[in-house]
């Protein structure tokens, strides 16, 4: 149910609530409780109303201005442990600057599609809008009743923040301190950290390409001896940027740069020199992907949390790359298929075998995502690159922390696209309402 907040100028520090509602929330016998709105909280007196309009709640003016409650949108309520949550209050950290934020407001409407299931305050903001000193954020709140849909206003730190933009280290730390676990997809990590965290767990390591951040000639030789070749990759490169493949041929190092046919041959001394210029790189075991008609295939797993608070797979999309490129990042003549269809196409699987493989992919990705949650903090929106090798074995290549949401559009699956955009918002609501599954409130 949703409730309207009515400003009450006659009382101070009081929340007046219809008796029937108080009973259904379980606060009819309470004298004082804590009222929280986003991260702001105050102790407040409860007064019971004999009212026919059981969807109106009266809140004293002073409280409304203390908590920065917006009274034009409708809210849900959750009462537990003597705390009444008025919400949800959800912040989306999207714009790089105010100028860009305003420019793209129209695009951000995609995040509001399920607002009827969300309610409360859903706002977008950017780094420069955050006022740590005065404990508030200026943002653009989604309000379906105004013609331009967004209304600029001053709000408290919200109950949950979803990050999807570059951020300074200072602001990042400030928000982490303020928000804790309710600031999700907060911290980005590179390929080396990813390997370093997960390789301690045998069941996960099995699906990860061996990686080292010590880019030395000795390590290049070691990898080549073990795997007949090695990748030199940019630590935080994405989309196949900055990838070299290195082999050895009659004492010379053969280097191939991604997407380019030009091959460089280097002597040992030249190679050492070359490596010393690539300090932001790492060395990685090459995965010999199972190809389809000479195309490399990789699978993008959209792993997200939703209103359940748990990881689930929103969809898998396979990219069949252009022939001969090192990675499967497809250019002109590549194509894409939905995951199950891709498994059937690439491996000739029947429906049941494709189902099992699909489940296995999801399970491995979920195990890794849960472990990353444990080690590095909260995530709820990951784009995981998965490869399948010549022996049908599943490899997790990379986890993207600010994943491209447009993948479903490549295969023209609008439902999946809308879901990818909506899931982080549903999860944010779950967080903002105290980690409760609030679709049923008794």
């Amino acid at each position: 149910m949703v409730y309207e907040i009515v400003s009450d100028s006659l009382s101070r520090n009081t929340l007046s609530i219809p008796i029937a509602l108080a009973v259904s929330l379980g606060l009819e016998r309470k004298k004082t409780i804590t009222l929280s709105f986003g991260k702001r909280r105050v102790p407040i007196a409860i007064s019971l109303l004999q009212s026919n309009n059981k969807n109106n709640i009266l809140v004293s003016e002073d409280i409304i201005s203390n908590l920065l409650i917006d009274t034009k949108v409708k809210y849900e309520l959750l009462f537990s442990n003597d705390e009444l949550i008025l919400g949800p209050v959800i912040g989306l950290l999207l714009g790089k600057s105010e100028k860009r934020l305003v420019k793209y407001l129209n695009n951000y409407l995609i995040y509001t599609m399920l607002y009827e299931q969300i309610n409360g305050v859903l706002f977008v903001f950017c780094e420069e809008h955050i006022d740590f000193t005065n404990d508030k954020i200026t943002g653009y709140l989604y309000d379906p009743s105004v013609p331009e849909y967004w209304r600029k206003c001053v709000l408290p730190f919200p109950g949950a923040i979803f990050r999807r933009v570059e951020l300074s280290q200072k602001t990042l730390m400030g928000l982490k301190e303020k928000m804790g676990e309710s600031f999700f997809n907060a911290q980005y990590f590179d390929k080396w950290q990813f390997w370093n965290w997960l390789s301690h767990f045998d069941e996960l390591k099995e699906h990860l390409a061996e990686t080292t951040n010590k880019v030395t000639l000795a390590n290049v030789d070691k990898f080549i001896e073990k795997y007949n070749g090695v990748y030199l990759k940019l630590k935080d490169g994405s989309r196949g940027n900055g990838i070299y493949y290195i082999e050895k041929d009659e004492g010379l190092y053969v280097i191939m740069k991604n997407y380019q046919d030009d091959i460089t041959k280097l002597s040992e001394g030249q190679m050492a020199d070359f490596l010393s210029k690539h300090s932001l790189y790492l060395l990685q075991q090459p995965i010999r992907l199972h190809t389809f008609e000479d195309r490399k295939v990789d699978y993008r797993v959209m792993l997200q949390k939703n209103e359940t608070g748990h990881w689930q797979c929103t969809g898998i999309i396979a990219r069949f790359g252009n022939t001969n490129a090192i990675s499967s990042n497809f250019k002109a003549n590549g194509f894409a298929l939905e995951g199950t269809a891709a498994l059937k196409t690439q491996f000739g699987y029947d429906e049941l075998t494709a189902f099992k493989k699909y489940q296995e992919i999801i399970r491995i990705c979920t195990d890794m995502a849960s472990k990353v949650d444990e080690i590095a903090g909260a995530y709820a929106d990951l784009g995981i690159d998965v490869g399948i090798d010549k022996n049908d074995k599943i490899w997790v290549i990379e986890m993207n922390k600010r994943p491209d949401h447009d993948f479903p559009l490549i295969i023209k699956d609008r439902k999946m696209y809308y879901l990818v955009k909506s899931n982080p918002i549903l999860y944010a609501k779950y967080l903002a309402m105290g980690g409760q599954n609030s679709s049923v409130i008794f």
Binding site: M113, L204, S370, K371, E374, K415, L419, S439, F442
Partner: protein
């Protein structure tokens, strides 16, 4: 964490775990521990070993008590509530008597095990007469993953049971005594109970057609005066069988029912005639009367949506998928089993909303949410459900209506009618993933690590 169970001979009851596992489970300060396998609990001395492979050694005495089959290698373990859980040990309670079961007859239950790779442990099939309460054992069948076959024998009583049949009170008591409330899909409720439970809830009420009991004839008259069009449905009916349509046309009443693909209409002159007819022809106390919702039709076929709702490996309610059902031409109900066809809901919604995909998406999510909310409300009434089918219809204004909840062995082959094999496999594998979670061995945080 996956482990292989082996035996050793020790004078006392013991369990020996790898040292690193003991450290991970934070139980290194213990001398003894309670282990649970299925419904059995035993207190044993805790030992450790430093073999590299994940292996559990149980003393012979304990192992023999447990009746674990030799063909299951891999079990998972977790430490919860001061107990070391080894399993999962999951049972399916099925129809019939143990002597009547043949491998041929029980073959179909392998469909629940298509994702065994992510279950592990012992999956059992048993009948009511195979329960040995005293020794906490069952006489039944266990799944042998190596042979992909059911094997007959005596096994430990499972810690979780998925019911594939309605049970009598005496069996319910036995189950409760053995495993508390860890058995699901046991309740059978009729249409009137469903309506009463759900209409209690404000968020759902607007989705329910107005409904009265058939035996209260004044209410029936009031309902038909208010809505002109009603359905008379058997309380316990399923699959749209035995449904009458009663309509008021001017001062007359038409009673329509369907026999062999034909609508038979009886015209009755006035309310008294209706009352007389109903009282003599229909055992009204077994019926409810419901406002008829003019559901959307396509090519004169009534359309509604079968939403499949189930609990997943995290114990959350989810909708693995839905299927649109179309009734026979001009039939008063939509039902696949009475000759309709099915198609994926997303496609139907896009048709209905003329490719306004955003509207279609919002409606899709509203259907999901309504179905899940229903399940949560039913749960709050004390029902333990694992998966059910909910029929939801839509009227011309695109409002949703809750038509029926199918909790007694909901027929999921509907996914096959829609040629959605992935959905079918998803539905079939879901209940045992939920069962595993119930047994304390599922969930993403445990994730095998």
């Amino acid at each position: 964490m996956k482990h292989i169970i082996k035996t050793i001979s020790t004078p006392n009851p013991t369990i020996s775990l790898p040292l690193n596992v003991i450290e991970k489970l934070l139980i290194s300060d213990r001398e003894s521990i309670t282990i649970s396998i299925g419904a059995m609990k035993e207190s044993v001395t805790l030992l450790h070993h430093d073999h590299r492979q994940p292996c559990i050694y149980l003393s012979n005495e304990i192992y023999n008590k447990l009746f674990l089959p030799h063909f299951i290698d891999v079990y998972e373990i977790a430490f919860d509530n001061d107990t070391l859980i080894i399993g999962p040990v999951i049972g399916l309670l099925i129809r019939g008597k143990i002597d009547e079961l043949t491998k041929q007859r029980i073959k179909i239950y392998k469909n629940y095990l298509i994702d065994y790779k992510h279950l592990n442990g012992l999956i059992l099939l048993f009948t009511s007469d195979g329960i040995d309460v005293k020794n906490k054992l069952i006489n039944g069948y266990a799944f042998n993953p190596k042979e992909h076959e059911w094997e007959e024998g005596i096994f430990p009583f499972p810690s979780v049971v998925f019911l594939r049949k309605p049970i009598k009170e005496v069996i319910r008591k036995k189950l409760t005594g053995l495993i508390g409330n860890k058995f699901f899909n046991s309740h059978v409720f009729n249409k009137w109970e469903m309506w009463e439970w759900l209409s209690d809830h404000e968020q759902i009420r607007k989705y329910l057609p107005e409904t009265v009991l058939g035996e209260n004839i004044e209410n029936v008259q009031r309902l038909i005066d208010a809505h002109q069009e009603t359905f008379i449905k058997p309380k316990a009916g399923m699959q749209g069988s035995g449904i009458f349509q009663l309509s008021k046309v001017g001062q007359e009443y038409n009673l329509t029912y369907r026999i062999k693909d034909k609508n038979i209409i009886t015209v009755l002159d006035n309310w008294q005639a209706v009352e007389n007819y109903l009282k003599s022809e229909i055992s009204l106390k077994n019926y409810i009367v419901q406002q008829r919702i003019p559901l959307l039709t396509k090519d004169n076929r009534v359309m509604d949506v079968r939403v499949i709702v189930g609990k997943n490996h995290n114990g959350d309610w989810i909708v693995p998928g839905m299927v649109t059902k179309f009734g026979e031409i001009d039939s008063i109900v939509s039902n696949i089993s009475s000759g309709g066809s099915a198609q994926k809901v997303w496609k139907s919604l896009c048709d209905i909303f003329q490719n306004d995909f955003k509207k279609a998406f919002k409606k899709y999510m509203e259907i999901e949410k309504l179905a899940i909310t229903c399940c949560k409300v039913l749960e709050s009434k004390g029902l333990h459900l694992g998966y059910i089918g909910i029929d939801i219809g839509m009227d011309e204004n695109h409002n949703l209506w809750l038509i029926e909840i199918n909790n007694r062995s909901p027929d999921m082959t509907i996914a096959l009618d829609a040629e959605d094999y992935q959905l079918y496999y998803k539905i079939k594998s879901a209940p045992l993933h939920y069962a595993k979670w119930l047994s304390g061995l599922g969930g993403e945080r445990q994730g095998g690590l």
